[in-house]
């Protein structure tokens, strides 16, 4: 799992996760967020909160599979951000992942966007 963090506007941070790094050092390649790597993911997210980055866009485009541990990781991230008076939103989840988010009613809690502009606006 490769994670790329970039500060978009003010203190809004965007996270892109992929299987590997491309030549321009950006993550790419589909990956599965599951019981095996969710703790790594949680650590990365928590690092953000420790650094007081509490407005987070999580770019999900390369996550083509997610299980309940992965969902919990997202939900925990969302809760922590909210407790810190921040916000965590999801960007561009794949169709299957979106379906799981719907089934588990996670999408009624965490906001999901299809364009970065909308996500940024929601975090202003």
């Amino acid at each position: 799992m490769k994670i790329h963090k970039v500060i978009c506007e003010k203190d809004i941070i965007k996270i892109l996760i992929g299987a590997e790094l491309s030549d321009d050092n950006l993550p790419k390649g589909n990956m599965e967020l599951d019981i095996e790597n969710q703790s790594q993911f949680v650590e990365e997210i928590n690092d953000l909160f420790v650094e007081e980055h509490i407005r987070v866009i999580l770019d999900m485009r390369y996550i083509n599979y997610i299980d309940s541990s992965g969902l919990w990781a997202l939900f925990e991230g969302y809760k922590t951000a909210s407790q810190k008076k921040g916000k965590l939103v999801l960007l561009n989840p794949t169709q299957d992942v979106k379906r799981v988010l719907d089934i588990t009613k996670m999408s009624s809690k965490i906001q999901i966007f299809e364009s970065e502009e909308e996500a940024l606006e929601a975090l202003q």
Binding site: S68, S69, V100, I103, K105
Partner: protein, 1054 residues
């Protein structure tokens, strides 16, 4: 008697003028009284009026009275007026009181009256009182009318006609008076307020100043008590004074802290240097009278403590307007002088001077403290220096000799009690050839440490260090001398030893792989260290010390060196684990003189690795090498490095062992893989028969084998065999057997024929010289007839209607006799009949608790599970053995094939079964998920359904890892993917304790209620069609998830 003046005729005009005059001219009460009197006289002709004015805000009254009037009379009027005012309405006319006969009025003082009567020779007995009221009807005064001078009576009748005008006049006057008094009050108040304000401002200024002084004093005294340098003390003091006084230039002269004195200056306003010089002259002049000696102004050090930076050039006409000099005294000793100059102020105020004195006292006490500390330190230091082992020479700033301690005298070989002069020391330095070096150091202030100089059979180490005081001023140079003769020698040896160790370390690192190579190099190295040519290294191998390498020193030679009692020296070393070093061998009284080669010296030392004795080093110098000697230091050096050699030898051994072990493990792994690949991957699927098979190899790979062969006539051949032998050879043989079986058995429909042909093949093959016990049965899946033949294998077990019997025929194992004489028998199977084929490992199992498993246990197990299908039964057997062998070693392979006739099974036959066993690690989750992906995709599920199945399976799997096994990584989970025509069943079997019911039931519907595994369970239930959970299967539980395959139009899940 003069005629009485005529009473003036009343004129309205006159009255108006009078009334107007009150507001125009009445600037004060006196003026108003005068105007009223005038009015009364001119308008009405009353010349004898008495007027009393009251200040309504105070009790004072002013009387303009010319005739007697008693207090009682006044009091009565006042009360009457007040009483009237209390009840009078706004438009009620102002009252008046006419007293017609005072002689009978109780308030009149008769004496007074008499006095007046006498004075005027007239008895005036009536009087009229009119109160003077303000517009708001406050009583401002009263008017009394009498006519003493005119010797007339007022008479009530006369008054009545005049009264309204009279009242008007008095009333107007009252109003004017009211205005005047209000004006006066206001003016008075304004004036008072003004003066009060000024007083407050002054007080505030005083308070601020006092507060500033106190704060500054408090802060400064705190900081002062922590400061340890006099310049800091002075800086703090000046800063404090500046905060309070805002002086322009300040200078503090300190008498004794630096030789010759020091002036520390603080400049707050840019001034010319002349100005500063004047300030300095001032302070020095102020000091002169107090000092016992004359000050050399040129030697006074001048320090700028603080200098304001300014871009503008100071104007040259700035002069000192005023200055103050305050002495700094500590215990009647003058420590210095404080000088403050001001350009603005013409003089320092009393407050300023008081504060300066306070600060001077503060400075004095802290400077005094520092001075005393210095004295104490100095005496401590000199006591310390005297007692030091190192030689210490201290030179002053101008290279004066300040101090030399006894140790230094001794080192430089001076007589102990002679006085050493500076010249003597320089003389010595010259002798040591370090004169210029020391000079340079003193001048440059550069430190020198550990400079070695040989001097009179000793080696001196020289340190030269400049010494600064706390203010970083140089106050001298210290030269430290040490005798390094001994340590010089030890250092040389230590450094050689370190070098030897590090070189040996390098050698060991680069040769760790091969022991012989390593020892050859090590021996060469040790010989080099000891400077000899003969030596050997022995290593303990399997209880004996073997000579691994030697240089002209084989064991038959060194074994010949013996002690006098005949014991070989090497034997002594082995027994005592002690180093033996014999110098001058030929003449040593302890050793046997006979030897093969004459030796001068012989060293025999043990090699230890931790506490184990693992080798011996021999070093010898032959008699012909006369010019060499083994130095004792070198022996010690070698002794210190032997543990390194020991460790290296041990590591080399370990390395070899590891290599061998790795080879063995590799072999095992290969054999295991071969065996796994030889066993059938899937069970054959029959419509009315359920089949199951397990093979549990022991840790050392064995030769158990089973197989299903689809015969030409549509029947199913079932083989079980137990190949003698283990490991790769057995595996290879099994591979061959499998290929023979599959090539030759397919067309043969009789087990007897099949075994006979196999036997012939094996007998003829010279390469294979093995006996193979083998049981072969053929099932006709239509008629359910089972025909079988046994070649010396464990008989099969038949279970029908509660009865057990063996299925067996005579015959030797395959490959043992030319003519096997195999037989065959048949049996008609009915619904629910069982046949078990198994190797002897199954019924001869023993564990470490000495429990055994035999026919009886097997039968009981089958009886209990006879309702399940064959696959589940072998699963139960496998679970049973898992518990049975818990922590024990399984010593034989366990293999079993189960067959059950199950007519009702019809629709329940999977097209394909894939079984996969994994350990309970998180990594396996992905592996299983990928396997599931392939199976489901192949079945024709659409992408999103595949995703759903994967996720449900994933959640079940994770649930087992986290809850059933609680995170243990070495437990097994068995997955079975059953592919049916219309659905996919996945059986997930674990062997852990029961998962609590609640974790497997979907109750929570809302996200917030889903805790821990709840979300996973919720997902499983949401994503697949059927979830079945069976717990308490000795031990463990099984979860079956099922997904229907809808052909044709695929529906998107919600």
């Amino acid at each position: 008697m003069p005629p009485l003046p005529l009473r003036p005729k009343f004129s309205k005009r006159k009255l108006d003028i009078c009334c107007k005059s009150f507001s125009e001219k009445g600037q004060s009460a006196e003026e108003l009284v005068r105007l009223l009197k005038n009015g009364l006289a001119t308008v009405f002709g009353y010349r004898d009026s008495d007027i009393i004015l009251y200040d309504p805000t105070s009790t004072t009254k002013t009387s303009y009275v010319h005739h007697t009037i008693s207090e009682k009379e006044i009091q009565w009027i006042v009360e009457q007026t007040k009483e009237w005012a209390l009840f009078a309405t706004a438009d009620q006319a102002i009252p008046h009181w006419y007293i017609d006969d005072r002689t009978h009025w109780i308030h009149t003082d008769p004496d007074q009256l008499r006095q007046d009567c006498n004075h005027y020779s007239w008895h005036c007995r009536d009087q009229l009182f009119i109160p003077i009221l303000s517009e708001e009807r406050y009583m401002l005064g009263l008017v009394r009318l009498q006519e003493w001078a005119d010797k007339r009576l007022l008479t009530e009748k006369k008054i009545r006609t005049q009264l309204p005008h009279l009242m008007t006049l008095v009333h107007k006057m009252g109003c004017a008076l009211d205005n005047v008094s209000i004006h006066q009050k206001i003016e008075l108040l304004v004036a008072e307020k003004h003066s009060l304000k000024q007083r407050i401002q002054q007080d505030m200024r005083d308070l601020d100043r006092r507060l500033l002084e106190l704060t500054v004093l408090y802060d400064t005294s705190n900081a002062l008590s922590h400061s340890l340098s006099y310049s800091q003390v002075v800086a703090l003091g000046m800063e404090a004074i500046y905060k309070v006084l805002k002086f322009d230039v300040g200078a503090v002269f300190l008498v004794d802290f630096v030789t010759g004195g020091e002036i520390i200056t603080r400049i707050n306003t840019p001034v010319e240097s002349e100005f500063v010089k004047k300030a300095h002259a001032n302070v020095l002049a102020a000091c002169m009278p107090f000092l016992k000696r004359k000050l050399d102004i040129n030697r006074v050090r001048v320090t700028m403590g603080y200098h304001i930076r300014s871009n503008s050039t100071p104007s040259s006409d700035i002069i000192i307007q005023s200055f103050a000099n305050i002495p700094i005294l500590f215990k009647e000793e003058l420590l210095g002088m404080l000088n403050m100059c001001s350009i603005e102020k013409t003089s320092f105020s009393k407050n300023d001077l008081t504060f300066l004195h306070t600060m001077a006292n503060q400075l004095a006490s802290h400077l005094g403290r520092l001075k005393m500390m210095r004295k104490i330190e100095k005496s401590k230091v000199s006591a310390l220096l005297k007692s030091m082992n190192e030689g210490i020479i201290m030179l002053g700033v101008e290279s004066t000799l300040e101090f030399i301690n006894p140790a230094a005298k001794k080192l430089l070989a001076y007589e102990d009690n002679t006085k050493v002069l500076l010249e003597d020391i320089w003389q010595t330095f010259k002798k040591l050839e370090i004169e210029t070096l020391v000079h340079r150091c003193i001048q440059d202030g550069k430190n020198i440490s550990s400079y070695e100089v040989p001097y009179k059979n000793q080696i001196l180490l020289l340190d030269i260090t400049k010494v600064n005081d706390t203010e970083q001023h140089k106050i001298g140079t210290v030269i430290v001398l040490r005798d390094a003769t001994k340590s010089h020698h030890t250092n040389r040896i230590n450094s050689r030893r370190l070098e030897v160790i590090s070189r040996l370390n390098m050698i060991i690192k680069s040769f760790s792989a091969d022991l012989d190579d390593l020892l050859t190099v090590v021996l060469e190295f040790i010989l080099g260290v000891a400077n000899v040519e003969t030596g050997a290294i022995q290593v303990l191998q399997e209880g004996v010390f073997v000579t691994k390498v030697h240089s002209n020193f084989p064991d038959k030679i060194f074994n010949s060196y013996r002690f006098k009692n005949g014991q070989p020296i090497v034997k002594y070393v082995i027994d005592n684990q002690q180093l033996v070093f014999i110098e001058n061998y030929r003449n040593s009284p302890n050793v046997h003189s006979y030897s093969k080669v004459a030796l001068e010296e012989y060293v025999c030392m043990p090699i230890m690795a931790k506490n184990d004795f693992i080798g011996i080093v021999h070093l010898a110098r032959k008699a012909e090498d006369l010019d060499r000697r083994i130095a004792e230091d070198d022996v010690t050096t070698i002794a210190t490095i032997t543990p390194l050699i020991g460790t290296a030898i041990r590591n080399a051994f370990l390395y070899q062992e590891t290599l061998e072990k790795q080879k063995l493990e590799q072999e095992l792994r290969v054999a295991n893989e071969i065996q796994n690949k030889l066993l059938p991957e899937h069970l054959p699927q029959l419509s009315k028969v359920s089949l199951g098979a397990i093979s549990l190899p022991a840790r050392v790979i064995g030769g158990d084998y089973y197989d299903f062969i689809k015969l030409q006539d549509g029947n199913l051949g079932i083989v079980i065999a137990d190949i003698v032998g283990k490991g790769i050879p057995a595996g290879l043989f099994m591979a061959m057997l499998k290929s023979i079986l599959h090539t030759h058995l397919v067309p043969i429909s009789s087990p007897k024929q099949a075994l006979t042909q196999l036997n012939t093949l094996l007998i003829r093959d010279r390469v294979i010289s093995k006996y193979v016990p083998l049981f072969y049965g053929i099932l006709n899946p239509v008629t359910n007839v089972f025909t079988y033949a046994n070649a010396g294998h464990e008989p099969a077990l038949y279970f029908s209607k509660g009865q057990f019997s063996d299925l067996d025929t005579d015959g030797f194992p395959l490959g043992s006799l030319e003519n096997g004489n195999y037989e065959e028998k048949s049996i008609q199977l009915s619904d629910h009949d069982w046949i078990l084929l198994f190797t002897d490992g199954v019924i001869e199992a023993r564990n470490e608790k000495k429990d055994s498993f035999d026919h009886i246990q097997l039968k009981n197990l089958l009886k209990k599970s006879s309702q399940s299908d064959a696959d589940s039964f072998v699963g139960t057997v496998a679970a049973y053995f898992k518990t049975f062998y818990h922590l024990s070693k399984q010593h034989d392979d366990l293999t079993m094939v189960a067959l059950k006739i199950d007519v009702s099974k019809k629709n329940n036959t999977p097209l394909k079964t894939t079984k996969k066993t994994v350990l309970s690690t998180k990594q396996a989750v992905k592996e299983i998920r990928n396997l599931c992906h392939n199976i489901a995709t192949e079945m024709g599920f659409d992408e999103s359904t595949v995703f759903n199945i994967k996720l449900a399976l994933n959640e079940a799997h994770a649930n087992i890892i986290e809850h059933a096994y609680e995170g243990r990584l070495d437990e097994e989970i068995v997955f079975k993917f059953l592919v049916y025509e219309d659905r996919l069943d996945i059986k997930i079997r674990d062997f852990g304790p029961d998962i609590e019911k609640k974790t497997t039931k979907s109750r929570a519907e809302h996200l917030d209620q889903l805790e821990g595994s709840g979300l996973g369970i919720f997902l499983i239930h949401s994503l697949v069609d059927k979830v079945e959970y069976t717990s308490g299967i000795s031990p463990g539980s099984e979860l079956i998830i099922s997904k229907k395959l809808t052909k044709g139009v695929q529906h998107e899940n919600p």
